[in-house]
């Protein structure tokens, strides 16, 4: 008799509760594949302050002519979120011809990163001519350095301070001397700044020996780290804080620093943004799509737009499906609880 009392609602929710996990997996897989099979659709996210801060920092570098130091500390596990961020950033840097030096702490990231840079470079060369961008003059890839595996940041950070980039890494990813590349020569403005600083400190007008001719950490306008874990993040602040010349009297770093990371880690980075150590954060795919929107609004479509939109669409589909199943699960629980109470009261 009890079976006959149970209506269609009970049966549906009972079926939902007992649904095979394979059905959920297939439904999710199909939804995630939609933008990749049927094409992406444009979305209009509202860029957050953390994303705008990042964008503005690169714009400032474009104005001042200062180079950017790009640390690739993401891995292929976090490719879904970090790769669109990387694509957007390289797109912006190359479009605005901001010089950048790139370093990877993981072998696969070094190769994937290099391919993306080469594709983006080819896109802009086709658009503006062969001389628009040039490896070694406008961008440089130091390549994969097993910093993570050989003593960690504790060895790399002090070396950067004492030896500079050329002294710490010597060669680029192909084994050519870093000193051969024009990008590694210190800009005239940096040499002037150093001379002024020395004069201010009351040191001799002519420094002992020759001034450092190659790029130093303090010459960069922005240090960007694209990463997947917060363990790496303090490198950004540690790198600068170790060198007392790079910290202002207010305790804040003199170089701008920004972090692009996966959604799971963003929460751990927010205190650094809040304190002013970081000028901006790219938060997961959403951060990438917001950044892409800023690029689109300011300069029009670029090579990163399509891939970022497609990944963002897939991400949205996944998120909405998770929400849907949460609602479904809770509805089922509420329905059953109410039904059990009614049964306990002896109602129909």
């Amino acid at each position: 008799m009890a079976e006959t009392k149970r209506g269609i609602g009970h049966k549906v929710f009972d079926a939902i509760d007992r649904v095979n996990y394979r059905v959920v997996y297939i439904a999710l897989a199909v939804l995630l594949a939609v933008p990749f099979i049927f094409g992406h659709w444009e979305v209009k996210p509202r860029p957050r302050a953390i994303t705008r801060g990042f964008f503005n920092a690169i714009e400032e570098c474009a104005e001042s002519g200062k180079p950017v130091f790009l640390l690739n500390t993401w891995i292929m596990d976090s490719r879904g979120e970090n790769q669109p961020q990387f694509e957007c950033l390289v797109d912006h840097l190359m479009r605005r011809r901001v010089k950048f030096v790139m370093l990877s702490f993981f072998a696969d990231t070094a190769i994937v990163g290099r391919e993306i840079c080469q594709k983006t470079e080819a896109y802009y060369k086709k658009l503006y001519g062969d001389d628009y961008l040039q490896y070694g003059r406008d961008w440089l890839m130091i390549g994969y350095r097993p910093v993570y595996q050989t003593g960690g940041w504790q060895t790399w950070v002090p070396n950067m301070k004492t030896k500079g980039i050329v002294g710490s890494f010597d060669k680029d990813y192909m084994g050519h001397d870093l000193t051969e590349y024009p990008i590694m020569q210190r800009p005239e403005s940096a040499l002037q700044e150093e001379a002024e600083r020395r004069a201010k400190e009351g040191k001799d007008e002519e420094p002992e020996g020759e001034a450092e001719p190659y790029l130093q950490l303090g010459d960069f306008g922005l240090v960007i780290e694209i990463h997947y874990t917060a363990q790496i993040a303090p490198v950004l602040t540690g790198l600068v804080r170790l060198d007392k010349d790079l910290v202002g009297l207010d305790g804040r770093p003199k170089i701008e620093m920004a972090s692009a990371t996966v959604n799971m880690v963003v929460n751990q980075m927010l205190p650094y943004y809040d304190s002013g150590d970081l000028c901006g954060i790219l938060a997961g795919v959403q951060g990438a799509v917001e950044y892409s929107e800023l690029l689109q609004d300011t300069y029009g479509t670029g090579p990163s737009r399509e891939d970022v939109s497609r990944r963002a669409n897939a991400y949205s589909m996944g998120v909405l499906f998770v929400l849907f199943v949460i609602v479904l699960g809770n509805l089922s629980m509420v329905w059953k609880t109410l039904h059990e109470r009614r049964e306990a009261r002896g109602g129909s």
């Binding site: 959920v24 997996y25 190769i111 097993p146 060895t155 004492t162 943004y273 909405l320 949460i326 809770n330």
Partner: protein
């Protein structure tokens, strides 16, 4: 002097150096920084790197020992070991070919036999790594259906926050006010909570570091010896 004492002494001396560098470097005398620390630190860090490189060598030897034993003795899943060692040899060969093969112009992609290594990395390895990690999305969705239930006030608050954050992550939903709410949740509540957590974690790290530095911490290494 036994091994434990040597290790403790090394850790103590190494620790003293870095404490001195961090506490008085650049503050007490700039010349001390330039004349001493800037010269000693690179030597010091190079030693740490050399030790790290030894660890990589030990790892490679260990992989070969473990898996050749498994294959020779026909232990369970010995077939997997063959695949692992074969992949190791293939990648090692491709890496040598990349190193010794025809080199492209700087900034250009590797081609021909020198490009085999990059090809395997970008066309096979990268996708396998991403696939393994993406399984998480499926597990989370399955768990969302069965376990993310509002059973009380606390879980209701958590679920409310989660729904706001999730909805704000999908711009297709078209709730602009949710972005405002999420931004405030991020910068007001989350930043404060994570700062508190970070302080706690760092205090814990400092405590453990001091204990290790002074040799009080009975780590696995000391216990073993």
């Amino acid at each position: 002097m036994n091994k434990v004492r040597i290790i403790r002494l090394t850790v103590l001396i190494a620790g003293i150096y870095f404490v001195v560098v961090f506490l008085i470097g650049g503050i007490w005398k700039k010349s001390l920084d330039e004349e001493v620390f800037d010269k000693v630190t690179p030597v010091y860090t190079d030693v740490i790197r050399v030790i790290g490189v030894f660890a990589i060598g030990v790892g490679v030897v260990n992989i070969w020992m473990v898996h050749t034993h498994r294959i020779v003795r026909g232990r369970p899943n010995w077939e997997h070991s063959i695949v692992l060692l074969a992949a190791f040899c293939v990648m090692f060969t491709f890496a040598i070919l990349k190193w010794t093969g025809p080199q492209p112009e700087p900034g250009r992609p590797y081609e021909g036999i020198a490009g085999l290594f990059d090809y395997v990395v970008t066309r096979i390895m990268v996708h396998m790594n991403s696939t393994i990690y993406s399984f998480l999305a499926f597990f989370v969705t399955s768990a969302a259906l069965r376990a993310f239930r509002v059973r009380g006030l606390e879980s209701g608050v958590m679920m409310g926050g989660a729904v706001i954050v999730l909805l704000s992550m999908a711009p297709e939903t078209g709730f602009p006010f949710l972005f405002e709410v999420r931004e405030r949740l991020d910068l007001w509540l989350n930043a404060a909570v994570f700062r508190a957590l970070t302080f706690g974690m760092l205090l814990g790290s400092i405590t453990v570091a001091i204990r290790m530095w002074l040799g009080i911490e009975r780590s696995a290494l000391f216990e073993a010896s």
